[in-house]
């Protein structure tokens, strides 16, 4: 009896695979690449996190010593703090800006397509190049931002935009908002366009004004998309690297150093012998932290799935 049932299940499974073989075939390269360039390196890094390894000499097994050191490393936890600050500040600014732009550009007016394209352009430009341009714009010597503000009489001497951690983080948030708002705007646009127009018409008939319509209908009906977009935004902010590297290089001091930069430093930039074993441990813990934050966010916002 059990054999008959087992054979039946196998037959059904095989029939299903056969029925969807085109789809499985199309997925195969992606699965191979994820295994080769995602899963395998992750396991490789996990392995070396238990070793003292400089990339050339024989690795020396040290057990959990890298992790013990990591938990006592105040510079790493400073980078975690900086990362979390970015993870909160960037979405807080980027999401409302993207949503507002999406609502405005969802209306038909002359130049709508051009406006959408212009706002999206930063997404197809190299982040590092844009960050370098921002660096020069906000430079305290001959920077255009200071020049304009002084000309307008807003300030009477140049601001040291990268002079302290808080100011430098503000510039980073501004840059990330400007460079990323186009992408999220496009996602919000598609969410807005999926809301049936009859709902708006009914609300209009019932006498709802624009603000009531926005908060009572638009936002709730975008629920699951809103959750996804915000999760993407938070994860991207937690993985920041190229913009911080080009804008501040973690400075002044290491007041803007984020987790990814800390990992990079120990893999490639340490004075003396490289510490790839320690950097591997840092990578693993950082990955776990990002996963935990993402899971907590998804759990807390599951009611947004409408």
């Amino acid at each position: 009896m059990a054999t008959v049932k087992g054979n039946g299940r196998k037959k059904r499974l095989w029939a299903e695979i056969k029925g969807y073989r085109q789809q499985y075939l199309m997925m195969t390269p992606t699965i191979i690449m994820v295994m080769m360039f995602g899963i395998y390196p992750l396991l490789y890094v996990l392995y070396y996190s238990f070793f003292k390894y400089d990339g050339f000499s024989e690795p020396l097994f040290i057990g959990l010593r890298n992790y013990v050191r990591l938990f006592q490393d105040s510079t790493y936890w400073n980078s975690v703090k900086n990362t979390l600050q970015m993870g909160v500040a960037i979405p807080l600014v980027q999401i409302p800006c993207s949503l507002l732009l999406a609502v405005l550009l969802n209306q038909k007016f002359r130049g709508q397509s051009l406006a959408r394209a212009v706002i999206f352009v930063p997404n197809i430009t190299s982040t590092a190049i844009m960050a370098i341009v921002f660096y020069f714009m906000f430079a305290s010597y001959n920077g255009i931002i200071n020049g304009v503000l002084m000309k307008l009489g807003v300030i009477d001497r140049a601001i040291e935009w990268f002079g302290n951690g808080m100011m430098a983080k503000t510039v980073i948030v501004l840059f990330c908002t400007w460079s990323g708002v186009g992408f999220y705007m496009v996602l919000f646009l598609s969410a807005l366009q999926s809301i049936p127009s009859e709902v708006y018409e009914s609300a209009k008939v019932d006498g709802a004004n624009k603000v009531q319509t926005f908060f009572g209908i638009t936002i709730p009906m975008m629920g699951s998309m809103f959750q996804t977009i915000t999760a993407l935004c938070i994860m991207n902010a937690l993985k920041l690297f190229d913009s911080v590297k080009a804008l501040t290089n973690g400075g002044p001091g290491n007041s803007t150093e984020v987790m990814t930069m800390y990992i990079y430093r120990y893999f490639f930039e340490t004075m003396g012998t490289a510490q790839q074993g320690y950097a591997s441990a840092v990578s693993i813990l950082s990955t776990i932290l990002v996963m935990v934050i993402t899971l907590v966010y998804v759990r807390c916002t599951r009611k947004m799935n409408y």
Partner: protein, 476 residues
């Protein structure tokens, strides 16, 4: 129809897989990027093309890998001269920039290392020699090389293993004070009399800043450079005391970062005077050099390789010169720190004899390289200003940049072999400087930081000795 769909699915899957492999390339010495076919590399593709063009005879192909971020005309011309001088060996070189360390690591692991490679970016001669990846190069040190080379080029222990020599650095790199003679004149200072003492340097920096009216500043301190304190503290400490780089006291064989304090405080005073070029906390070296070339910075400290770079790569709009780095009035400068640069090694591959033939030519003919990329070299003949042959270049700052008789290359520097736990000296000092820039009194924090640095570096040293990375004799 269904079968056609399946066929297309298989074809597209195959195209996807193929497009993900066989991409990328390396940069060859002529500056072009050569696409890398899977299973080959650019050099072998290029070499195969070249050797097929050679009529008769098969040349041995030698590959050299360097860390440069762009083509070095000096290296290219020297390689051309070698290739033209004989028929048996053909040399090409590739530069990898920031990817160099990881590329070399993979090549060595995969037994596809080049015949000659540059040891830099964390790759040390001793590590590779211990692995058996290198061959000694003593037989390449001919009488010509012995007679003409700065003898301290052969002293660093890091180029030896078990008494055998594995690398001979061809360049000698040190730090000098670079100063803008036009700004000196504008501030009422003698452009031919750079500061001799740090006290004078501070005074001159203030005068240049005052005369600049917000357009020019007295001193450039690029704290965006990770190793900045290695440039602006260590050479002075080395010249005036027993404390070498990174706090290593070579007489007591112990760490003493306390000796760095007075220099650090000097730069904090410069900052408080308002003499530093703005944006110093995140200022990178390239931005600093661009501003110096544009004539907005009075003085800064940079490497002796800069005259060549300013002459060949950066459009300099000011008259400038190089001078020895000033020291405090109470101190006396002896020999300034230097290091041997461009440490090439010969790998233990199948073309050892051919590679050594080139290596010998490389050591004996640095003058050729210097006529195209003038930098101070260990071969005294190459540093002869008349031999530089660079009449068309705006070559400034040569007198002190090519002067090597007041330089000393240390025999042993432990910080290169230490795996340090926590922030290194540079990061600690930059963080403190940032706090000082906010107006915080850092004197107590500086004392704590110095004590912590001594403790951690000493522990790192003990661990390095225990793991065999540093020989006990080196620290006795």
């Amino acid at each position: 129809m269904k079968r056609m769909k399946q066929f297309y699915a298989v074809v597209m899957a195959g195209v996807l897989v193929l497009s993900a492999t066989g991409c990328g390339g390396s940069k060859t010495g002529d500056g072009t990027t050569t696409p890398v076919a899977s299973g080959e590399n650019a050099a072998s593709t290029k070499n195969k093309t070249e050797s097929s063009m050679v009529a008769g005879g098969v040349k041995t192909e030698i590959r050299i890998w360097t860390k440069g971020s762009g083509p070095d005309e000096g290296i290219q011309k020297l390689i051309e001269a070698f290739n033209e001088s004989q028929e048996e060996v053909q040399v090409t070189y590739e530069y990898y920039g920031e990817n160099y360390t990881s590329v070399v690591q993979m090549a060595i692991s995969g037994d596809s290392a080049p015949d000659i490679l540059e040891c830099s970016g964390g790759i040390t001669v001793q590590t590779l020699a211990k692995q058996g990846s290198l061959v000694p190069v003593e037989d390449c040190v001919t009488d010509v090389v012995q007679e003409n080379y700065n003898q301290s080029a052969f002293t660093p222990e890091e180029f030896y293993l078990n008494g055998e020599l594995y690398s001979v650095p061809v360049r000698v790199s040190a730090y000098r004070l670079l100063y803008n003679k036009d700004l000196f004149e504008k501030a009422g200072l003698n452009p031919e009399a750079p500061p001799q003492t740090l006290e004078e340097m501070r005074e001159y920096a203030q005068k240049i800043t005052e005369a600049g009216g917000g357009e020019t500043y007295g001193f450039g301190l690029p704290l965006g450079v990770a190793q900045i304190w290695e440039r602006v503290i260590d050479p002075i400490s080395y010249a005036t005391s027993d404390v070498q780089r990174y706090g290593w006291n070579n007489v007591t064989k112990s760490y003493d970062f306390g000796a760095n304090k007075k220099y650090f405080e000097f730069y904090v005073d410069l900052m408080r005077d308002g003499s530093l070029f703005p944006g110093y906390l995140t200022l990178g070296i390239d931005t600093l050099r661009a501003n110096f070339a544009a004539g907005t910075i009075g003085m800064y400290i940079d490497g002796t390789w800069m005259p060549g770079s300013y002459a060949t790569q950066i459009d300099t709009k000011c008259n400038w010169d190089a001078a020895p780095i000033p020291v405090f009035a109470e101190d006396r400068a002896d020999k300034y720190w230097a290091e041997g640069g461009v440490n090439w090694v010969v790998t233990n591959g199948k073309n050892v004899e051919a590679a050594k033939k080139f290596y010998t030519f490389w050591l004996e003919n640095q003058t050729i390289a210097n006529t195209y990329m003038p930098v101070p070299r260990n071969d005294a003949r190459a540093n002869d200003l008349d031999a530089l042959g660079v009449e068309d270049l705006n070559l400034q700052g040569v007198e002190y940049s090519f002067k090597t008789d007041d330089l000393d290359i240390p025999k042993f520097e432990p910080h290169k072999f230490i795996s340090l736990e926590g922030d290194d000296r540079n990061t600690v000092f930059t963080n403190l400087f940032a706090k000082a820039a906010e107006g915080t009194d850092i004197s107590a924090a500086l004392d704590v930081a110095v004590e912590d640095l001594n403790k951690r570096y000493t522990q790192g040293l003990k661990d390095a000795v225990a793991e065999g990375n540093i020989a006990e004799e080196s620290i006795k």
